[in-house]
Symmetry: none
Subunit: 267 residues, 2 copies
C-alpha cells in the first residue's frame, strides 16, 4: 500500500531559515517526515526551530547535502515546483495529479522527491531538467509567487488527500486491517450524518411535530386553516431542509407544549 | 457569475502580525482580496508588511472590527475553521467541499466569510456557533495544529480550484460570452440554492431572530438563562443547518411576536 514514509521534501538553496522551519511544520501537519536541504544558507538555525513549532524532530533529522543530484540519488520519481512556464515545455502536473502520482509510486515501492527552489528565483533550468515532472500551483497570474513554506503546504496537503483517498478506498474494499482504516475514517469524517451525536428523528415523529406546530400556530392566531396562505408548506420546506435529530425534536415539542400551557394558564 | 470578490477572509484575535501579512500574501496568490481583522493584537505592523511581500494593498484596505458579529453582519454564508472535534458536532465540510459551496454561493449573489481563530486556541465555542459550517483540514492526528497562514493558504487554494473548475466548465460549455448569468447557473449546478424563490437572510437578521427566540423561550418558562443546558447552542445548530430565507425569517419572527402578544393579552 502507498505510504508517506518514502516521500522526501527537498529544499534547494533556501535563504531564510524561517521558511525551513515553517516547511517542516507543514510537513508534519500532513504526515510527511523526510526533509533534505540542498546547500541551505543558514542551518541549523534558531529561527527555523521557532517556526517549526512541534515539528522539531523533522529539523533534527533533516539531511543536508551539497547538490540536488545528491539529494535525489535514490529516488525513482522526482517532481519539481515551477512557478512559471519554461522555454522548454516539460511534463506538467497539477498539485492534485501530483498527489495521485506520488501515492501510486510509493505504493509500487518507489522513493519520491518533491523539490522546491529558492525563495526569489525558484529552481534553475539545470535543476528543473533533473525532474521527471514539474508541478505548478494554479495561482493568480497577477501574483503567482507563493511563500516557500506555503507552496510546501499546498503540495503536502494534496499528497495527504491522495493518501487518505487511497486508504479510504482500501477500507471500503474491505482489504485493510490496519492503519488504513483509521486514515479512511478521518478522510470521510467530513459528512454531516457521520458521527452525529444523536439519532435522527423518524418520519412519524416529524409528522407529529407538524401537527402540533399547526395547533399552536392556530392557538396564537397566526394561522387560519381557512386561509392558510401556504404557511404549513413553508414550515415543512424549512424544517425538511434540516435532518432534525431526536433531541432537537424533543426540544421543539417541549417548546410547543410550554406555549400551550402558558396560554391556558393565563386565560 | 461565481466571483472571488465577495469572499472575505476573517482573522479573529490574531496574536502575531507576521501571520496577518503571510495570510494576505496567500490570499493574493489565490486571487482573494477582502481581509477583515477582528481585534488583532498588533495592527498595523511592519512585521505584517514584510511578510505580505507584494500583497501590501490587501493589508492597506483590511477592515478592523471589534467582534466577529460585526465582521459577518452582511454575510449570507459563514464557515469557520475548526481543528478538533467539538462536544456538539456541527455540519462539517472538507476544504474541497468548502470550495464548491463558496463558489456556488457567490454565484448566487451571496457574501461569504471564511473565519480563522487564534494561533493557540482557534475559534471559541461562541464564535463557532455563529458559523453555518465548520471546515477541517485533514491533518495528521499526531500534529493537527497548522500555522494560521498555512490554513488560510490551503482554504484559499481550494476556493481558487473550485473557481477555476467553474470557469473551465463554462468555457467548455461555450457559454462564456456574457459571463454573469451563465457562470452563476453553472456554478450552482443541482444544488438547493439554485433558483430559490427568496433571498437568504443575512447574518444580522439571523442574530436578531436568535435574540427574539431566546426572549420567548424565557417568557414561556422553557429556558432559564441561569441554567441554559446548551439550549441556545442546540437551537443555533438546528437553524444554522438550514439557510433560512427572508420570507421564512419573517414568518418565524411573526410567530414569536404573536406568542408574546397572546401571553400579554391573557395576563
Amino acid at each position: 500500500m502507498g505510504t508517506l514514509d518514502r516521500i522526501k521534501i527537498v529544499l534547494v538553496s533556501t535563504s531564510h531559515p524561517g521558511n525551513i522551519g515553517a516547511a517542516a511544520r507543514a510537513m508534519k501537519n500532513m504526515g510527511l517526515s523526510e526533509l533534505v536541504l540542498v546547500a541551505p544558507e543558514e542551518f541549523p538555525s534558531g529561527v527555523a526551530v521557532g517556526r517549526a513549532a512541534s515539528a522539531l524532530e523533522i529539523l533534527e533529522k533533516a539531511r543536508v547535502v551539497d547538490t540536488l543530484t545528491d539529494a535525489i540519488a535514490d529516488c525513482t520519481l522526482v517532481i519539481g515546483a515551477s512557478a512559471r512556464r519554461r522555454s522548454i515545455p516539460w511534463p506538467m502536473l497539477s498539485p492534485e495529479q501530483l498527489g495521485e502520482k506520488v501515492i501510486e509510486e510509493s505504493g509500487a515501492g518507489g522513493s519520491i522527491a518533491l523539490v522546491f527552489g529558492r525563495e526569489d528565483s525558484g529552481l534553475n533550468n539545470e535543476e528543473l531538467q533533473l525532474c521527471h515532472f514539474h508541478v505548478q500551483i494554479p495561482a493568480n497570474p497577477d501574483y503567482s509567487s507563493l511563500n516557500l513554506a506555503a507552496a510546501v503546504m499546498v503540495i503536502s496537503y494534496e499528497v495527504r488527500k491522495a493518501y487518505l483517498a487511497m486508504a479510504n478506498q482500501l477500507s471500503e474494499d474491505g482489504q485493510s486491517g490496519d492503519g488504513a482504516t483509521n486514515a479512511g475514517q478521518a478522510a470521510s469524517g467530513s459528512q454531516l450524518e457521520q458521527n452525529w451525536d444523536q439519532p435522527f428523528a423518524s418520519g412519524d415523529q416529524v409528522e407529529h411535530f407538524y401537527a402540533h406546530l399547526e395547533r399552536v400556530l392556530v392557538a396564537i392566531d397566526f394561522h387560519d386553516p381557512d386561509n392558510p396562505r401556504q404557511l404549513m408548506q413553508r414550515m415543512r420546506r424549512l424544517f425538511n431542509r434540516v435532518r432534525i435529530d431526536e433531541m432537537e425534536m424533543n426540544i421543539l415539542r417541549g417548546v410547543l407544549t410550554n406555549i400551550e400551557f402558558n396560554l391556558k394558564n393565563r386565560e
